[in-house]
């Protein structure tokens, strides 16, 4: 019997949706709006995180060594730095590579190259380039450098300078901007999602308000609460499912245009991001759409069921 009831409820939901005409269309449109907000937020988060990662990658700390510092000691320091949980990677550049890079960089600067040739031997030392996992962690890496642990093997005598303190103000400012952007992004996301949910809930409530007398009649002829509520919830599922496909289709040309025109400005190709994450986006908005539709219908019908 439960199977028959379920079949009847689903069938009624589809028939009601079809016969709802403009009311069903308006409800689907509103769910599309809500899902478009969610999809736009997913894409914006992608752009934001990609930009932040690019900025983060540009930040590093370099440990310069004195000329002639023994390679074994530098390697020991590199190993102890890599063991730190805050460190993402440590890249070693030898004194010879440093000189080669310097010459390439100043290839057109004749006086500098001439002065270098005058000296005869390599005046530059090796260096280690340290990248932290998070910008906020550079300070603790710098503190580690100052501590006895790092320098136990006498490596203090080989370090010429660490540029953390020169970069500190830039790093701190970037850190503030990034954490601010993340907090703002979260609050904006929260606001947009909540407001679109409220608007969608009220639109669906209006569609059910139109049927409030019908709900009363159904109850009077002896229909159970689930028999009355079920078709409205099925309609909610239909709103969500159709709106999901409509949203995905709408975002296809929109992201393609953004990908063509705005990639250099945004720092990433939004279309590529959209296409490569299409399954996850589909799952998120389908689930959101169905939940919005079903929960809104459930709550809206409840108001009239007990009358």
């Amino acid at each position: 019997m439960a199977g028959t009831d379920l079949k009847r409820i689903i069938k009624s939901g589809f028939i009601n949706f079809k016969r709802g005409g403009s009311v069903s269309f308006a409800a689907v449109l509103q769910v599309v709006n809500a899902l478009a907000v969610i999809t736009a937020i997913i894409l914006l988060q992608g752009v934001l995180y990609s930009s932040l990662n690019q900025i983060k990658n540009k930040v590093d700390v370099t440990i310069y060594f004195v000329v002639g510092a023994p390679v074994e000691k530098i390697m020991t320091l590199q190993k102890s730095l890599i063991k730190l949980p805050e460190v993402a990677e440590v890249i070693y550049t030898s004194a010879e590579d440093n000189l080669k890079n310097f010459r390439t960089l100043h290839a057109n600067d004749y006086p500098t190259i001439a002065a270098l040739d005058e000296i005869g031997n390599n005046p530059l030392g090796a260096y280690l380039n340290v990248k932290a996992k998070e910008i906020s962690q550079y300070e603790s890496i710098a503190n580690f450098m100052k501590s006895d642990n790092a320098l136990a093997s006498g490596s203090d005598s080989i370090i010429y300078k660490v540029n953390y303190h020169q970069n500190k103000s830039v790093i701190d400012r970037l850190n503030t901007i990034i954490s601010g952007a993340q907090k703002f992004g979260f609050l904006l996301t929260l606001y947009l999602i909540i407001s679109s949910l409220i608007i969608t809930f009220n639109t669906i409530r209006l569609t059910i308000f139109i049927a409030k007398e019908e709900i009363g009649v159904m109850r009077l002829v002896g229909a159970s609460k689930m028999r009355v509520r079920g078709p409205f919830m099925v309609e909610g599922v239909i709103y969500g499912a159709i709106a999901t496909f409509a949203t995905l289709v709408l975002f296809w040309p929109a992201t393609a245009w953004l990908g063509r025109k705005m990639t250099s400005f945004l720092g990433m190709n939004v279309y590529d991001y959209y296409v490569s994450n299409i399954l996850q986006i589909f799952a998120i908005i389908l689930l959101s759409g169905i939940l919005i539709g079903v929960i809104s219908s459930f709550l809206a019908v409840r108001k009239y069921l007990n009358k």
Partner: protein, 222 residues
């Protein structure tokens, strides 16, 4: 079958029912007559527990209807067929679906629905209107459809609240005849109306109400 025991209904600024005590036995055809605002509709709503009395109790057989839980109330309503002045049909369902819905509500199978619905539509002379929506039917046809829906589950009681209020004399006569036929087949009928002609045509028990009170209870019309 139905027993109103000292029932009063008091709204903020009006008394809709004033100490009403009435007994209706199974198989009776009872007309409740009175002007608008006399308390007829309030009285019928009490049986369906659509409204709660301020004082007193309403029994359907031995059940105090206002003490029923939601689930039991649904079961009680399945034993009662209701016909309203404004028909209260489901606007998005066809004539067939309106009746099928009432059958689905009581758990009838698809086979029972497929065999009974056309039959009852023929009975109220709507066999040719099966696929029509309520707004495609005339007032008389809508009311006949509402009656078909009310009787489809063979209820023990039919409550008809001003069923002829929106109808012309010919349709009124038809509806009265259908209700009489239903009663002749053993179903208890309660008819609320302010139409004297209808009461006279039926010629059965009449309860007259005024200002929420029962002022007369006549066994044979008038």
């Amino acid at each position: 079958m139905i027993y109103f025991n000292n029932v009063s209904k008091i709204y903020k600024d009006a008394v809709a029912l004033d100490d009403v005590t009435v007994t209706i036995t199974a198989g009776e055809f009872v007309s409740i007559v009175g002007h608008s605002g006399a308390g007829k509709t309030t009285l019928t709503k009490m049986i369906l527990a659509e409204d709660k009395p301020s004082l007193g109790t309403v029994f359907f057989e031995s059940i105090d209807v206002h003490k029923l839980k939601n689930k039991d109330l649904t079961k009680l309503r399945r034993r009662i067929g209701v016909v309203f002045q404004d028909f209260k049909l489901l606007p998005n369902k066809t004539a067939y679906e309106n009746i099928a819905f009432a059958m689905e509500a009581v758990g009838k199978t698809d086979e029972e629905i497929a065999s009974d619905v056309p039959h009852v539509l023929e009975l109220v002379d709507l066999g040719h209107r099966v696929s029509h929506f309520p707004n495609q039917l005339s007032g008389g046809e809508q009311q006949r459809l509402a009656i078909a829906r009310a009787i489809i589950n063979q209820p023990e009681l039919i409550i008809a609240d001003e069923p002829t209020g929106n109808l012309d004399p010919i349709n009124t006569h038809e509806i009265v005849q259908i209700l009489k036929k239903i009663n002749d087949l053993g179903t208890t009928v309660i008819l609320a109306t302010h139409n004297r002609g209808v009461i006279d045509a039926i010629g059965k028990r009449v309860i007259t109400m005024e200002n929420g009170k029962v002022i007369r209870d006549s066994k044979h019309g008038k």
